[in-house]
């Protein structure tokens, strides 16, 4: 079942990756203007929907089920429900992608009301989310049952972190679900001819930012629980790890209004408040960077590294997990620095709605996060298939090409954003002197995209060779062990009750008034614009 999740996730990734490269090519100076921009938006919708909803959700679900079995060392409770969740994701994906392929829902994955597409697109997305909610419930239930059966024993850290990610997703998906169920789907079914686009955007922002942290969770879990073990070290601090995930849970969600800095429907006070809490999310990331660097240093010193920097040279750089995590950290550093600009109320105005934003989330998600999805796959595959992955050289080549491709793709992408190139456009007239200077940068991005397609192909080659390898019996899977494994933990660090309470309270403070105000204000709805319909 876990393998089915991973394979479906990577199949979606494999299909959507060339679409992304095609889009980059189409809007570059290497290609003339596309005569029918509808094809471009259709492709962007398919790429975004697959990469943002289907791919990471399935990776998180599959990895979560794996952690639940491997960390709790018992079979998953609710296996049938898990299959039901998987089936809902499959049905939802197919339901959503057919109208997109037919050009009936070219609204981009962020929906952008008052544009309204075919109802089946939205229903499909809802099914994917409902399928993932089953996973959220199963993660919670598995942890609770384990706690009941093992009173007084700390929940294993990998499971604790996974449940934090699941609860974060469960709550953050509520925003988009409200938007879809009460606003967009009624309009798509023709029950309503108007929609409060401002309110819809506020609901979506509830989901839009924390969804990134949901994507990030498997990556962070891999940093903490796979990397130190894979390089022969130990996790520096178990408590610090728990604290990081708790902080993500509490402050990652009520910050989404920083996506609406240029929107008039939210007051400036709330924008500032969300900006403050966005700044706080840097905290768990900095904690993680510190803990992981310390853990890696432990491994380096255990391997005989000496001096201030000598431990770096002693690290097993030929190990794909080490290499992938290091490359991921570099991309996380650059992407995080860029993110500080996005979240600052004033600085954001210089890059709002420019290609900078697209470059930023490709560097963070496509770069720092997805490269760790590859690492997770490489690490788990022998345990999932019972066949060893031996193409270490190919893995290193794949990770390096992904890193180089992503840098070549996104650095010029950020740069043209600073020059003011708007996003979400299908064509750019590079013969116009105003943007002629951007032509070279966009061409570089196309080269980066091509490298990424090659890297994606290498990834599938590695997995395919693994499936063709002879059967082996891998040893039992192990997660990293902390330097001082916890014997007993304060109740607050062994459960989520307190933190879920704080998360919901902060949501009410940060979102309650703007939503209530928009609901109570008459005359805020605008006519819907139906996409793909004959006019």
């Amino acid at each position: 079942m876990i393998l089915a999740h991973f394979w479906l996730a990577f199949a979606g990734f494999g299909a959507a990756l060339p679409l992304g490269a095609w889009q980059m090519y189409i809007r570059s100076p290497l290609h003339g203007w596309i005569s029918d921009p509808e094809w471009y938006y259709r492709s962007v919708t398919a790429h975004g929907t697959t990469m943002a909803y289907v791919f990471p959700t399935l990776v998180a679900m599959g990895f979560g089920y794996f952690v639940a079995e491997a960390a709790l060392q018992r079979p998953l409770i609710g296996l049938r429900w898990a299959w039901l969740g998987f089936a809902l994701v499959v049905i939802g994906t197919v339901t959503a992608i057919i109208p997109v392929a037919l050009g009936l829902a070219s609204v981009l994955y962020t929906f952008y009301p008052p544009m309204i597409g075919n109802p089946f697109y939205y229903i499909g997305v809802v099914l994917v989310v409902v399928g993932s909610w089953i996973w959220v419930a199963l993660m919670g239930i598995n942890m609770q049952r384990w706690k009941r059966d093992n009173p007084g024993t700390p929940v294993p850290f990998p499971m604790f972190a996974t449940v934090a990610g699941a609860y974060l997703w469960g709550w953050t998906a509520v925003g988009a679900a409200l938007e879809l169920l009460f606003q967009i789907i009624p309009a798509a079914l023709g029950l309503s001819r108007t929609i409060d686009a401002g309110l819809a955007r506020v609901f979506f922002s509830w989901t839009l930012h924390a969804i990134v942290y949901f994507w990030l969770m498997p990556t962070y879990i891999a940093y903490y629980t796979i990397l130190p073990r894979a390089i022969g070290g130990r996790l520096y601090s178990d408590a610090m790890g728990r604290l990081s995930f708790i902080l993500f849970l509490v402050v990652a969600m009520p910050i989404g209004v920083h996506h609406l800095f240029a929107d008039p429907e939210v007051g400036s006070g709330f924008k500032f408040l969300h900006s403050v809490f966005t700044a706080l999310v840097a905290l768990p990331t900095l904690l993680t960077v510190f803990t992981i660097c310390a853990s890696v240093e432990i491994a380096g010193r255990l391997r005989g590294g000496k001096g201030v920097l000598g431990w770096l040279a002693a690290l097993p750089w030929r190990n794909p997990v080490m290499l992938g995590a290091a490359l991921s950290f570099v991309m996380l550093g650059f992407g995080g620095a860029g993110g500080l600009i996005n979240m600052s109320y004033q600085l954001d105005s210089t890059i709002h709605n420019t290609q900078w934003v697209t470059g930023h989330f490709h560097l963070i998600f496509g770069g720092a996060i997805v490269i760790m999805y590859f690492v997770i796959a490489y690490d788990l595959w022998p345990h999932l298939t019972g066949r060893s992955l031996d193409s270490l050289g190919l893995m290193r080549a794949q990770l390096w090409t992904w890193f180089v491709g992503m840098i070549v793709l996104t650095f010029p992408w950020h740069y043209v954003g600073i020059l003011g190139m708007p996003r979400r456009m299908a064509f750019y007239d590079y013969s116009d002197p105003v943007i002629a200077a951007q032509a070279a940068s966009v061409t570089m991005s196309v080269i980066g995209a091509a490298i990424l397609v090659v890297s994606g192909a290498l990834f599938f080659l590695v997995l395919a060779r693994g499936h063709a390898a002879p059967r082996t019996a891998p040893p039992a899977y192990r997660f990293s062990v902390a330097v001082r494994p916890p014997r007993a933990l304060p109740a607050a660090l062994n459960g989520f009750g307190l933190w879920l309470g704080l998360m919901i309270a902060l949501t009410l403070v940060n979102y309650g008034f703007p939503i209530a105000h928009l609901l109570a204000t008459p005359g805020t709805a605008v006519p819907t614009v139906n996409v793909g319909a004959l006019r």
Binding site: P37, F270, V276, D429, A491, A505
Partner: protein
């Protein structure tokens, strides 16, 4: 579960986490809703409460600015999507009689031989609006003004119904792709594609059916919109578009809708004379 909650409530984690979160939220609220709005010199708040309301995004009763009036006659026609739909046979017949005075320039069946617009098959709202604009002076023409002076509102509706009823001139599409300005516009200059309003795929109320109109007429109108000589587009939508167009684009769009081949050339001019 309850035992766990009891342990949490007893521990120092509870007051610490709730206290820190609340302190951060209150500090953020104070700075965002009081300190920053009051520090903004461009805003003149009467009280702290005023500043808080503004930061919360409440709609304020701003002083009403007087509406700026144009210093030239503007169109008085309000168009709606369903306007002048379903004309009666009587209306069309009356229109046909009234149209006898138009035949000198616009042709016996609405097809012009004189570089004036072909009216056959034109949208009724377009004819009606232009007639009204000629009458009110929103659109200036030394030839048209005296002719419409004595037309009543119903006369104009009847004329519009009659011309809309006549069959269109058969479209003579030049081979190949339409020019970029027609198909894609010029996004960098905020120029929408001509075809988005005037084309076969999409039409907007009030936008004329342009196919088969004479080249000279189309080019002159675009030049007049650009110079401001014609200004009966109340939202300045055509003036804004035409001002941003290059001479070559005006030429290309006019040629395309006139059904002429190629960007320029004597062959195309010759065929226009034949036409």
């Amino acid at each position: 579960m309850n035992r766990e909650w009891a342990a949490i409530l007893r521990s120092k984690w509870f007051p610490a986490s709730v206290g820190i979160t609340a302190a951060l939220a209150i500090a953020g609220l104070l700075v965002g809703f009081v300190v920053l709005p009051l520090a903004d010199r461009n805003e003149q708040f009467h009280s702290v409460w005023d500043a808080i309301c503004s930061a919360a995004g409440l709609i304020q009763n701003a002083a009403r600015e007087p509406v700026v009036q144009a210093n030239y006659p503007t169109t008085r026609v309000e168009l709606t999507p369903r306007m002048l739909r379903g004309a009666s046979a009587e209306s069309i017949g009356r229109g046909a009689t009234l149209a006898l005075r138009c035949t000198m320039c616009h042709g016996a069946r609405g097809l012009s031989e004189a570089n004036t617009p072909n009216l056959a098959g034109q949208y009724a709202v377009v004819i009606y609006k232009q007639l009204m604009d000629f009458k009110t002076g929103a659109r200036v023409s030394a030839v048209m003004a005296p002719l419409v002076g004595d037309l009543s509102d119903q006369d104009m509706r009847d004329l519009a119904a009659y011309y809309a009823y006549l069959p269109r001139v058969p479209a003579s599409r030049p081979a190949g792709e339409p020019p970029q300005i027609v198909a894609s516009g010029a996004p960098l200059r905020s120029i929408a594609p001509c075809g988005a309003c005037h084309g076969e795929l999409a039409s907007k109320p009030g936008a004329a059916w342009l196919e088969g109109q004479p080249f000279d007429y189309l080019r002159t109108q675009l030049q007049d919109f650009a110079s401001g000589a014609r200004r009966n587009d109340i939202g300045e939508q055509m003036r804004n578009v035409a001002r941003g167009m290059t001479v070559a684009e005006i030429d290309a769009a006019s040629r395309f809708y006139a059904g002429l081949r190629g960007p320029t050339g004597s062959q195309a001019d010759a065929s226009s004379k034949q036409h």
